[in-house]
């Protein structure tokens, strides 16, 4: 009886000490993940997530304060990558499948240049009193221009599918 108690206590002490050592030895610095996440973010600081810029959003995502799905320009793909990185599962149904991009309705545009000024990627071309247009390839879909437009003539639309961008859908079967 005494021996048993003694042996078990001893084992507990030794193992506990080993665990403590291991914790110290294998300690991982916590934060490189923020760097990695900022690398993945669109980097346009559009502010749609509610943070001032992508860096702050990355910190919030890393600490779990906000969802990985908070970034509309990053869309489904970014959310998946982030979820993968952080080892969490997310409900992808919440995110719009296709990213949306700005389209200026040229018949209503007055050429006020307000959208042009707010665009974080200089994706809008045009000059004062001229109709503006969006360079699709440079648009992140942040929607800043839509908010800024006094004529309400900017629509966020999915990129039209053409032969070049079409790809095979998933097979229906099985």
């Amino acid at each position: 009886m005494i021996t048993a108690i003694f042996v078990l206590t001893l084992m507990g002490l030794i193992l506990g000490y080993l665990l403590g050592l291991a914790a110290k030895y294998f300690h991982v610095e916590a934060d490189p993940i923020i760097e990695e996440i900022s690398e993945l973010m669109p980097g346009t600081h559009c502010g749609q997530c509610g943070f001032a810029g992508c860096g702050q959003a990355a910190e919030a995502i890393a600490s779990g304060e906000t969802e990985v799905t908070c970034c509309p320009p990053g869309g489904k793909q970014l959310a998946e990558t982030l979820a993968d990185k952080l080892g969490i599962t997310i409900n992808l149904d919440d995110i719009a499948n296709e990213p949306l991009y700005a389209n200026i309705n040229s018949s209503e545009c007055t050429g006020c240049t307000r959208c042009y000024k707010v665009c974080p990627t200089d994706a809008i071309v045009g000059a004062n009193k001229q109709i503006h247009a969006v360079i699709n390839a440079a648009c992140t879909g942040c929607g800043a221009c839509k908010t800024a437009c006094p004529e309400n003539c900017i629509d966020m639309l999915p990129e039209p599918i053409v032969l070049e961008t079409w790809h095979w859908p998933k097979p229906i079967a099985a």
């Binding site: 669109p42 346009t44 793909q77």
Partner: protein, 494 residues
């Protein structure tokens, strides 16, 4: 067991007897041609004609875009009716920009410079001529021929292989071409050899085309360095990588080109087009196409203009016996389903097939039983069942790990799958998704760059503004000080 030059492969029923004995016939001029500006791998050609323009046969109507592209020429003389989107020869059923020409029936050719002996010109000039003639790979991939030639001529090419495999069931267009016009093929082969400065030429033909073999042997008898090689009939022998392995015993390194191992390969139809272009100054505006399948009344091999609606080809064969269950462009293994019979013939289409219900099999897919037949059938050494599994779960990295990027979409795996799993469809889907993700990533990198440069510019502007302000302020102060000084001086003087 028969010696097989590459691993895997399958033996689909040939059905070549349907059209193999039919000599090439020329299709009468149709009323209208629908010439798509995208008939090749790479970017769409840019239209240079307007509705109302009159074009001659062989006149350039679409110039090659930047990067990998090929020009498009008017197949006959007539009036351009419209340049507009029209249903494309593509499984998506989407439209692509098409020049619609109303034929005037005269088939007047554009004036061409007089012929010079092509062998007296250098390779660069010849391959430019081929590029300007809009010649693309006519075996199916439609890769611009000149791009292949000029990139090959930057490396040492020992062997030019002329691919007369034609392993797809039903198709006999290349077979007939080799039987009926062997001299032009030999000429084309010699020209390609001349362009890339190669030592020898191998014309590789599957052993089920005896007449073609003897025709080419005869035509090439006077050229010592042209060899006709007989390869076993095995699908996908006509695939470039497999054919190269069968002929040379070497494999094209992954991610590399055939010229990395000193080989350049062209299809016989492409070789013929090259010969026509360099000896007759004809751009690529027509091709030989097999119209066959169980639903076709009289299967034929037809020489038709690019842009001819496939309905007219079918009508020329006496129409259909029944409503075809599937209308395909290309062979049954790699050809794609066409959205309608209005689709125009394109440069890369070797066949138009109207298959009836007995010829297609499409029972619904059942679960994979892991029998491994796809693994044995794959000529690339991939594990199709795992690739499909990972693709289904959208684990594209996993699918790439099992060889998605090396897949040539030959369809051997799906052909043998007892569970009827649409394996190739999974791979098409996965490849599309991977490309889309890559494009999205590139877009994001691009926009990030733009945003950073904008911020840098704004900061610079702000700094400049501040500097200007500071300078202005300093100037003002200096002025004021000077004034004060002056005043002081003035008052001191007084």
């Amino acid at each position: 067991m028969k010696f097989s030059p590459f691993r895997g492969g399958v033996h689909p029923d040939g059905y070549k007897e349907l059209s193999a004995h039919q000599a090439i016939e020329k299709l009468p001029l149709p009323d209208r041609l629908y010439v798509p500006l995208r008939q090749h791998a790479g970017s769409e050609a840019l239209a240079i004609v307007q509705p109302g323009d009159f074009v001659m046969k062989g006149q350039l109507i679409g110039r090659a875009a930047k990067g990998i592209s090929a020009p498009v020429h008017a197949p006959t003389s007539g009036k351009v009716l419209k340049v507009q989107p029209f249903v494309a020869a593509h499984p998506s059923g989407m439209d692509s920009n098409t020049v619609i020409i109303e034929c005037d029936g005269n088939d007047t050719p554009i004036a061409t410079p007089t012929n010079i002996d092509p062998f007296s010109l250098d390779g660069k000039t010849l391959s430019d001529t081929i590029a300007n003639a809009g010649i693309v790979g006519m075996g199916g991939a439609s890769f611009p021929a000149a791009v292949k030639l000029s990139s090959a001529s930057r490396q040492v090419v020992n062997t030019v292989i002329i691919n007369g495999g034609e392993c797809e069931p039903y198709l006999t267009a290349d077979d007939r071409l080799m039987r009926e016009r062997p001299e032009q093929i030999i000429l084309g082969a010699r020209l390609i050899r001349h362009i890339v400065n190669a030592e020898n030429v191998c014309i590789a033909i599957e052993d089920n085309k005896k007449e073609a073999i003897s025709a080419l042997r005869q035509a090439s008898s006077e050229y010592r360095n042209i060899q006709v090689i007989v390869v076993p009939t095995l699908y996908p022998m006509g695939s470039a990588k497999q054919m190269i392995q069968a002929v040379t015993g070497k494999e094209v390194p992954a991610g590399g080109r055939s010229s990395d191992i000193g080989v350049l390969m062209h299809n016989v139809a492409t070789t013929y087009a090259i010969a026509q272009c360099l000896s007759q100054n004809e751009p690529l505006v027509s091709r030989i196409v097999t119209v066959s399948g169980g639903a076709i009344k009289h299967p034929k091999n037809i020489e038709a203009l690019v842009g001819t609606p496939i309905k007219q080809l079918i009508d020329f064969c006496g129409g259909t016996l029944e409503e075809p269950s599937k209308l395909l462009l290309g062979g049954p293994m790699m050809g794609q389903l066409m959205p309608s019979d209005e689709v125009p013939l394109i440069k890369g289409a070797a066949g138009v097939l109207a298959l009836n219900n007995n010829e297609i099999s499409q029972p619904s897919a059942s679960p994979c039983i892991r029998c491994g037949r796809c693994v044995s059938a794959c000529p690339m050494g991939l594990v199709p069942l795992e690739m499909a599994n990972h693709s289904r779960q959208q684990d594209f990295d996993g699918a790439i790990g099992f060889g998605l990027k090396d897949c040539i979409l030959c369809g051997s795996c799906a052909f043998v799958c007892p569970s009827h799993i649409p394996l190739v469809h999974y791979f098409q889907y996965a490849k599309g998704e991977v490309a889309y993700q890559k494009a999205t990533q590139q877009r994001m990198d691009h926009t990030r760059q733009l945003s950073e440069s904008r911020r840098a510019r704004q900061e610079k502007e702000a700094a400049e503004k501040a500097a200007a302000k500071a300078a202005a302020k300093a100037a003002k102060e200096a002025k004021a000080a000077a004034k004060r000084k002056k005043q002081n001086a003035a008052s001191a003087n007084q």
